[in-house]
């Protein structure tokens, strides 16, 4: 398992290759990449700043991956989340899940993202022409996370 909170960018191809390197038991690698949108709630965004809670963030991400491992056949997982100043088009978050079969890889990848969105202590602040604004939590994210309780 690899969990990183970093200011640097990441390379999707390199992370997908790394997770399967040297193994022949992995049959599926699913990934998700989240990017900074250039517009949100109608306003143009010039910059975004990601704040987090050092220590709790890493612990929370490891717990989320641990829960995914408990529910699906997850052979390995990588979660990288960027913090600091980002611009539209920049990568924000990467989740890579390796499994024997696609069903487990897809489900665990989506679960990790849904839980990350509602449980991991990150906060986004957008810079727009009108000034800075903290992004409000979305109810749709809570709904997405809630569906995994079933």
């Amino acid at each position: 398992m690899k969990i990183c909170v970093q200011t640097e960018d990441f390379d999707l191809g390199a992370e997908c290759a790394a997770i399967a390197r040297g193994r022949t038991d992995i049959g599926a690698v699913a990934s998700f990449v989240g990017l900074v949108r250039g517009a949100n709630d109608g306003g143009g965004i010039s910059r975004m700043t990601l704040e987090h809670y050092p220590g709790m963030t890493e612990k929370s991400l490891a717990e989320i991956v641990g829960q995914a491992r408990g529910r699906w056949d997850v052979m390995d997982a990588t979660v990288i989340h960027r913090v600091g100043a980002l611009r539209p088009g920049d990568n924000i978050v990467l989740v890579v899940v390796a499994s024997a079969h696609r069903g487990d890889a897809f489900a665990a990848c989506e679960f990790i993202m849904d839980y990350l969105k509602t449980r991991a202590p990150f906060w986004k602040k957008e810079e727009t022409a009108e000034g800075g604004r903290w992004v409000d939590a979305r109810e749709s994210d809570d709904v997405a996370a809630e569906k995994w309780r079933a």
Binding site: Y53, K59, L116, K117, A120, P121, F122, W123
Partner: protein, 83 residues
């Protein structure tokens, strides 16, 4: 001592990201600590006004009735918006 942390919009409203505080007498829960801080008045009422305020004790999410003891790290913050 308690270590108290504030994040994001709450940190900005309070003008500080952390403070150390001797555990006040009679305070044994997150809710009691929250009320104690709000009672400072002025900018501190932001702690009462933050919608869906979240709390973590020792870096784990906690409810308002969670116990608080000397040496704990308590964090207050708005709902998370990462990903």
């Amino acid at each position: 001592m308690l270590k108290i942390l504030y994040f994001a919009g709450l940190r900005e409203a309070l003008g500080q990201s952390s403070e150390n505080m001797a555990l006040p007498a009679g305070i044994g829960s997150v809710g009691q600590l929250h009320a104690h801080l709000v009672a400072r008045g002025g900018a501190w009422t932001a702690l009462a006004r933050t919608k869906n305020l979240r709390v973590a004790v020792n870096q784990g999410m906690a409810a308002m009735d969670a116990p608080v003891e000397d040496g704990d790290e308590v964090a207050f913050f708005p709902p998370v918006t990462g990903g």
